[in-house]
């Protein structure tokens, strides 16, 4: 499968051997790009080192920051400080107010709902309506399906089924990522697509959720972060002398 992307690979950044192992497995599974969450205060040399390791495995690094704000104010502050430093911004929506703010803010790329308690997952119709007007996509992390079992997994699948149905209805983009913490939680595209059928995401949509959708988000953000970007719809085509001269 072309342009296979895993937007959330949780690398143990301090452990070189395990990091190398996970990147090797990602490459073997056919991924072309991997999104790696970095600490908010990460230094540029860490990113550069990581990029070199990724390139050595034939992978393209997508820098990502995971925000877990307690209030909409915290979210806005974090976005102001961090948006231009990372290619991807995801928000762990732990309250309804944060979820709503994240869905309508154009600087947020991914909405994540980590809880398995249906009352603490805020992706309802109102949230989806806001997300469809903005740019945020719903991120489904497959590792949570693998980690939970029994009644917890039943609840999680049920929540995901409802959320995916709402996202499909309001045309909110869906992204499937692994959120793997070790090589045993990493899965290939075929497995991801099959697992997505558990919560009624059709194969063609699931395929897009691991290829086209994440690719378009990354492409859009890279364009925005490039020096030639001025504003939406405006970019520098050529630099030269002033027209008057």
């Amino acid at each position: 499968m072309k342009n296979l992307i895993d937007l959330h690979l949780h690398l143990p950044l301090g452990k070189k051997e395990e990091t190398e192992d996970m990147l090797h497995v990602a490459s073997e599974l056919g991924y072309k790009s991997v999104g790696i969450p970095l600490p908010k205060r990460s230094r540029q040399d860490l990113t550069n080192d990581l990029r070199k390791v990724c390139i050595s495995h034939g992978l393209d690094l997508i820098t990502r920051v995971d925000l877990s704000p307690k209030s909409p104010k915290d979210l806005i502050r974090d976005l102001r400080q961090l948006r231009r430093r990372f290619e991807l911004v995801s928000v762990n929506c732990q309250s309804k107010a944060v979820a709503r703010q994240a869905a309508k803010d154009h600087r947020v790329d991914l909405l994540v709902f980590p809880s398995i308690n249906p009352r603490q997952r805020f992706f309802d119709l109102a949230e989806a309506r806001l997300a469809s007007q903005g740019l945020a996509a719903l991120e489904v992390e497959m590792a949570s399906l693998l980690r939970h079992c029994g009644s917890h997994r039943v609840r999680l699948i049920s929540c995901l089924r409802k959320e995916v149905a709402i996202a499909k209805r309001l045309k909110v983009p869906i992204v499937i990522s692994s959120n793997a913490h070790d090589i045993y939680e990493m899965r290939g595209s075929h497995e991801q697509i099959s697992l997505a059928t558990l919560f009624d995401l059709e194969s063609n949509l699931a395929r897009e959720a691991v290829t086209r959708v994440p690719m378009s988000i990354v492409k859009r953000n890279r364009e925005k972060l490039s020096p030639s970007y001025v504003a939406r719809g405006i970019r520098v085509v050529r630099r030269g002398k002033s027209c008057d001269e």
């Binding site: 899965r187 075929h190 099959s194 059928t197």
Partner: protein, 99 residues
């Protein structure tokens, strides 16, 4: 499927884990519809060949993908290497990959 595990796993334990996960996710009726059976297991290359109904291919792959441990101890990941309608085509695909 390629089996990624540090521990040595015999085919009985593997198939028990797969059946267990199929039961867990789809119940007895769903499990019966998969028509799951083992064809071959190459311990050296850690390649397991299984047969299932093509109508329940996605369910079978979902069940094998959901396996993360065997007998609550060995960490494991089962990953699809190739899917084919006939064993001959499957073996061709596998030999091409090894080349």
């Amino acid at each position: 499927m390629h089996i990624d595990s540090v521990q040595h796993l015999d085919e009985k334990r593997l198939m028990k884990a797969i059946w267990g996960k199929v039961y867990q996710l789809f119940g007895e009726v769903g499990a019966s519809q998969t028509a799951l059976s083992k064809i071959d297991y190459n311990e050296e290359q850690a390649i397991l060949v299984i047969r299932c109904s093509h109508k329940r291919l996605e369910s079978t792959i979902a069940a094998t993908a959901a396996i993360t441990e065997v007998d609550d101890e060995a960490s494991i990941a089962l990953r699809v290497v190739a899917v084919s309608g006939t064993l001959k085509a499957l073996r061709n695909k596998l030999s091409k990959r090894q080349c």
